[in-house]
Symmetry: C2
Subunit: 347 residues, 2 copies
Amino acid sequence: MTAIGTAPDTAASGRRRGPSMADVAREAHVSGQTVSRVSNGRHNVDADTRERVLAAMRKLGYRPNSAARALRTGRFHSIGVIMFTLSSFGNMRTLDAIAIASADAGYSITLIPVPHPTQGEISGAFDRLSEEAVDGVIIIIEAHLLDESDIELPPDLPVVVVDSTGSDRYTVVDTDQALGARLATEHLLALGHRTVWHIAGPERSYSASRRRESWQQTLAAHGAEAPPVLVGDWSAESGHEIGRALAADPEVTAIFAANDQMALGVLRAMHEAGRAVPDEVSVVGFDDMEEAASFWPPLTTVRQFFGEVGRLSVEALLHEVESSERRENRLVTTELVERASTGRPPS
Amino acid sequence: MTAIGTAPDTAASGRRRGPSMADVAREAHVSGQTVSRVSNGRHNVDADTRERVLAAMRKLGYRPNSAARALRTGRFHSIGVIMFTLSSFGNMRTLDAIAIASADAGYSITLIPVPHPTQGEISGAFDRLSEEAVDGVIIIIEAHLLDESDIELPPDLPVVVVDSTGSDRYTVVDTDQALGARLATEHLLALGHRTVWHIAGPERSYSASRRRESWQQTLAAHGAEAPPVLVGDWSAESGHEIGRALAADPEVTAIFAANDQMALGVLRAMHEAGRAVPDEVSVVGFDDMEEAASFWPPLTTVRQFFGEVGRLSVEALLHEVESSERRENRLVTTELVERASTGRPPS
DNA sequence: GCTCAGCATGTTGACGTGAACATGCCCGAT
DNA sequence: ATCGGGCATGTTCACGTCAACATGCTGAGC
């Protein structure tokens, strides 16, 4: 009947692409539109027909082409996440929560890394972003750098910024850094320490500034004299270095580090100097990373709810994507976790 | 001249979509194809024309529509990464490197999380994957679970598996776990310890098995008696628990933990029990996470090159994506980093 | 028996892009 | 002067999908 080689599927099999709706439609003896309806789970398809289409899909190994779908609908069902690489423990946890929340909502995550935190790199990431197939963006970047960058986001692209300044251009999901720093500082003061030393995060970090400011205000509110601010770079190594200087000063009895890693460095410095924690010096961290409970001694720290931050970010973003109206900003609380690294000052 | 409201762009501005190539073409008085050529950086465009097109792009705020481009070319310029959420420190570092290497190659990363490491979830991730807009996939999942899952990957989809068994279905980029475990064990034996205790990772982890087997083989090769295998779950807490038991046994003088977090838990247990490290007990970890140098005492550990793993994975995957031929498997080396947590056994 | 609502299904076209092919011009070789 | 090669630019069409509209059938209501 048919001449050799004229069977259309044989001829078509040469190309790399998988079967399309049209192939399924032919196989199931229905129109492409019916395949589309089945593929999208619409209910106005007869049960028999649906079954026939599904069978054809299975037989051919049909996979919807998301590019065509996106082209047609204008929706990518994907969320872009812009963040520093080699990023902090907290960012990873947040990313994690974002990924899970997105997956639950049927969105995938497109990572847009910023290898080096220079303005050029950040602008570059945003340029790349504008070509990315995303419906909205979550930005997890030290806010001060963000402000300095003259970034130009595609208009109409919903944006949620995490842990940043309260800009009125975007929805912001923030952690209550001020509360955490106050709790940490008050905890140490309440134990009887005359004042609290602070190891801050880098200047350009918004979170670091907020923690530092709150620490200062809390000291002032309690009439305690504020020691000079010491600035680290979030790393345990920087905490160790600053900790060595502090260990040499017998006046220092209470230290509040702006994150757990720097607190770890401080602990090591104290051990090396032979100063007992918490008997001679109390140390508080920030983040409550998983390992903090296993430091020696176990670290008193401020717990952040990264999962909640991620969840709320996705919720706010998708709300804007799907309804075009902005969600109000959210503030995620923090809490003090008391462990063995803090105690009364030596008398 | 023009009647009110007849300007075509005014009429078109009602819709949500941004300007298309056609709009730019009209603005620059060229054909759409010329815009396409400029957009793709082809060289066969006159300098004047190119400048005119670029100006029009800027004026209109033109952004290439990646969905249309992907539909036309069949390429998404995106790599899918399947991994556990809340994943280990090492995986995050690998992800980081993957993100950077991909960005350099002009590919973006689509994260496909697997919230719970059950077979159903993994299969679910792969189902989702088949609808994802990716050109290839990097899988970072405990291999044993992978084997148990009857996953069905889309045919013709290039796959690279990280830290997994040597399957001949996919390219594998692996870390030389065996070398690392041997180095760690030999280091302790060379210091004079009679034998080395091992805290392994969970059963289902391929990396954990390989480290455990290599530890056993090394002990056997040196004629040392192998203590029973202790199994943790990678967490510092599990290391602490097992460490408490080990601390109570005066025979134990050398411990090799399968990762740094568990080693941290062991250190804590030793401190609590008043057993000096390294004077009474030596401890070695695995990974060389950033904080390991700031543990107390600083941890001797096996360094992994996560960045290299990520880089090689992307390289292998993109090679297959672009040339359709498989790269050979790669093995990334490891090295021992000696710090203060190991020393001679008490005499 | 006729009408028409309600539902399953089919037909058409457009989303924005780039490959393939077509056109037209300039300029050097003959 | 003529031809043709090379290059810039234009035209056409299909990638796979889904919204909008069209069709045709069944059965309830009068």
